[in-house]
């Protein structure tokens, strides 16, 4: 493991994050947007773990557990909201979900 340089992990992580951001910005399906958010979270987690491992500081890894816990809770709430919206509007296309405006 130590043979692989740290930069590789960081580049992978940045790539994953970029994919997540792009997905959030351009996809219209709420479920896919939601998955992209998860992808961004995990990219961040990967960065934390990388630094933790390479600097020998366990705090980063413990932090990742917390992120995963919160992400799980967030996923539950988020999916519930999407289901509720679908029941009302019969769609999960976020372009059509725009009632919160002036």
């Amino acid at each position: 493991m130590s043979s692989i340089p740290m930069e590789y992990y960081l580049i992978l992580s940045a790539f994953m994050f970029a994919v997540g951001v792009t997905g959030v910005l351009i996809r219209r399906n709420a479920i896919v947007v939601f998955m992209c958010i998860e992808l961004m979270l995990n990219a961040a987690n990967l960065t934390l773990v990388t630094f933790s491992s390479y600097t020998g500081n366990p705090v980063g890894q413990i932090f990742v557990f917390f992120v995963m816990t919160v992400a799980a809770a967030e996923a539950a709430v988020g999916l519930a909201i999407i289901i509720a919206i679908f029941r009302n509007k019969l769609t999960v296309n976020i372009d059509e979900i725009n009632i919160f405006k002036w």
């Binding site: 959030v24 910005l25 947007v33 976020i94 372009d95 979900i97 725009n98 405006k101």
Partner: protein
């Protein structure tokens, strides 16, 4: 009893609280009336005992202070709630409680059956409470408390019959007018107080007057203080230019007119000038102004009184005229004569008003003297007492009015000059004339009312007994002030009694006395002769040849109308003061300042926010991904900024 002098103030307050709080529950008129009267009567007794005790003291110890509590204590200014018991305040408190008591008793009969009976007695007691604070106060602040208090009571009692019509408006309007005009005067008084504190660093009478007599203070300062105080006095005591409220104050019940607007409250200004005699004496110019204003008021009101037809209006203008006399006396430095006239005037003018009340009562609320006539046989007691009071005010020798009025005329001649005396005597002549016109039209001649419908009757004893007592006082009241020229070596008792109060002022004035007794007697004879001729003329005209009066009024139609309309003073004030203020308030303060400037600023800001936000709010598209892009760009910018600043 000097140390218990506060009882004269507390008892009426107690009466006010009992009648005011529980009066509507008591139901029994007698109980209410007795509570109201007895509190004032007991106050009179306390004052009387205090007087007896004070007379027993040596002259230099006759001025005592009774401290009750510290009222205000702020940064070096300490105002004590204290009463000053001296010759002047005792005289005034005896007048107030004595005449006040008689009028309270009279009111038991006069107000019988009125639905506001308890309210009336509560207000009367509150008035006595305020008036006693005014005359007994040991400093300007307590005096001012009473000063404002009597103004309030005057307002409440003028508008007592708030549901009745009065002339062109309502009694409430008359009450409001009295209050507002008084407030203008009070403002002057307040300024005077500020200036006194600024100059003497105290508001206590003794301290201020001692400093005024000894410290080297410029005359202009004294002049300013005196003129401000005098403005206050013109408001309270109905002098030019603030006399207009008093005739309208007749909207109140007649006992109120007798108590407040004849005997006591309106003399508050005279009392105050007299109390602050040293300040006025230090400002000779203002003294002259006081005398001239008094003289002009006396003359003007007397001329108006000649032609008025409402019995209370005649008496009201007569009061204004007599108050003018008092200020004339004060203005020529005869302070004790002015207080003497306050006292005798309280007796005979209260009597005149109460007599008028008795007539109005017997005539079923008719107040026009042209509709009376021949009432002598219906109301013998009222007639007899009214006649005595009329003779007294006309200045017939032997009655109280003669002594006080003649003393004033004499001093105005000795200190003011021949012109002052002449106008004073002219006024006295007119006074005699209009009073006998009133008497003749009311009690003599033919009955001008419909005696099938109106049956005049004498008032009950509860009303006539106070009349008789006041008539007695009107006769004998003058004998405590017999002028030196008749009394010989004892001198003028009343004058000697008050003399210590005015001693510092007299030291400063330092005129008096270059005239002979012969002159005094000569002037006296002339003024009495003129008054007698005016009386004969009035009796002749109004009992036998009424057409003379009609002819004269037609011949001098212009003058007659001018007098009948009271020199159009009300109209002038309406046009010159009231309307500009009302219009100015409406057009400038309301429509412009309030509606345009203040509302404009507030509404303008609201509109600005509304308009600008209606543009900016379009950013809220409701598209989640738009927000996400903005957020991302924002984060990117922040990151860029952090990186660049590293």
């Amino acid at each position: 009893m000097i140390n218990y002098i506060y009882l004269t103030v507390l008892l009426p307050l107690l009466g006010f609280l009992i009648n005011g709080l529980f009066g509507s529950k008591i139901k029994n008129e007698k109980v209410i009336g007795i509570i109201g009267s007895s509190t004032v009567g007991l106050g009179f007794l306390v004052s009387l005992f205090a007087l007896i005790e004070t007379i027993g003291l040596p002259v230099e110890n006759r001025s005592n202070t009774v401290e009750l509590f510290s009222w205000l204590s702020v940064a070096g200014l300490e105002i004590k709630f204290a009463y000053l018991v001296d010759q002047l305040s005792l005289t005034m408190s005896l007048i107030v409680t004595g005449v006040g008591f008689l009028i309270h008793v009279y009111s038991i009969g006069y107000m019988h059956g009125d639905k506001g009976y308890w309210r009336f007695f509560a207000y009367l007691n509150l008035f006595i409470f305020a008036m006693m604070n005014l005359v007994l106060g040991d400093n300007f602040v307590v005096l001012f408390l009473g000063w404002e208090g009597v103004g309030l009571c005057s307002y409440l009692l003028i508008g007592f019959w708030y549901d009745r019509k009065f002339e062109k408006g309502t009694t409430s309007e008359a009450a409001k007018k009295a209050f507002v005009v008084n407030r203008i005067g009070d403002f002057g008084f307040l300024l005077g107080m500020f200036l006194i504190y600024f100059t003497f660093d105290s508001l206590n009478f003794k301290e201020v007057f001692t400093k005024a007599a000894s410290l080297p203070i410029p005359e202009t300062t004294f002049g300013l203080i005196a003129i401000f105080l005098f403005i206050g006095a013109t408001g309270k005591s109905a002098q030019i230019p603030l006399f207009v409220w008093l005739p309208d104050a007749m909207a109140g019940p007649t006992p109120v007119s007798a108590l407040i607007h004849a005997a006591t409250m309106v003399t508050a200004g005279v009392y105050m000038v007299s109390r602050a005699s040293i300040i006025f004496a230090s400002a000779p110019t203002v003294m002259l102004i006081v005398a001239v204003i008094g003289l002009l008021t006396a003359l003007m009101a007397a001329t108006i009184g000649l032609v008025q037809n409402d019995i209370k209006k005649v008496l009201a203008y007569s009061t204004v005229s007599q108050l003018g006399y008092m200020f004339l006396a004060a203005g020529v430095g005869a302070f004790s004569a002015s207080i003497f006239h306050v006292m005798t005037h309280a007796f005979f003018k209260a009597l005149l008003f109460l007599g008028a009340g008795s007539v109005i009562h017997g005539m079923h609320d008719e107040q026009n003297i042209q509709k009376y006539g021949g009432l002598k046989k219906y109301m013998p007691k009222t007639y007899a007492t009214f006649l005595i009071a009329t003779l007294a005010i006309a200045g017939i020798p032997g009655l109280s009015g003669f002594f006080s009025k003649d003393e004033i005329l004499w001093y105005s001649f000795a200190n003011g000059g021949f012109l002052f005396w002449l106008i004073g005597v002219l006024t006295a002549m007119m006074t005699a004339f209009y009073m006998f016109r009133l008497l003749s039209l009311t009690f003599y001649g033919n009955e001008k009312f419909d005696n099938h419908h109106i049956h005049p009757h004498e008032s009950p004893a509860v009303m006539t007994v106070p009349l008789i007592i006041l008539a007695l006082l009107s006769v004998v009241g003058g004998y405590i002030g017999i002028p030196e020229v008749f009394s010989g070596e004892h001198g003028n008792v009343f004058h000697n009694w008050l003399e210590p109060v005015y001693a510092p002022a007299m030291d400063k004035l330092g005129f008096f006395g270059s005239h002979t007794h012969f002159q005094e007697i000569l002037l006296m004879v002339v003024s009495v002769a003129l008054a007698l001729s005016a009386i004969c003329f009035a009796l002749h005209v109004y009992t036998k040849k009424q057409n003379i009066a009609v002819e004269i009024s037609e011949k001098f139609k212009g003058v007659y109308n001018l007098l009948l309309n009271k020199y159009f003073v009300d109209e002038i004030y309406e046009a010159a003061v009231v309307q500009p203020i009302q219009k100015g308030s409406e057009k400038v303060l309301w429509k412009f300042t309030d509606n345009m400037i203040i509302d404009g600023i507030v509404n303008g800001i609201a509109t600005l926010v509304d308009k600008s936000s209606s543009v900016i709010r379009k950013m809220q598209t409701g598209v989640a991904q738009f927000y996400a892009i903005v957020m991302m760009l924002g984060i990117a910018l922040v990151l860029l900024w952090i990186i660049l600043s590293l």
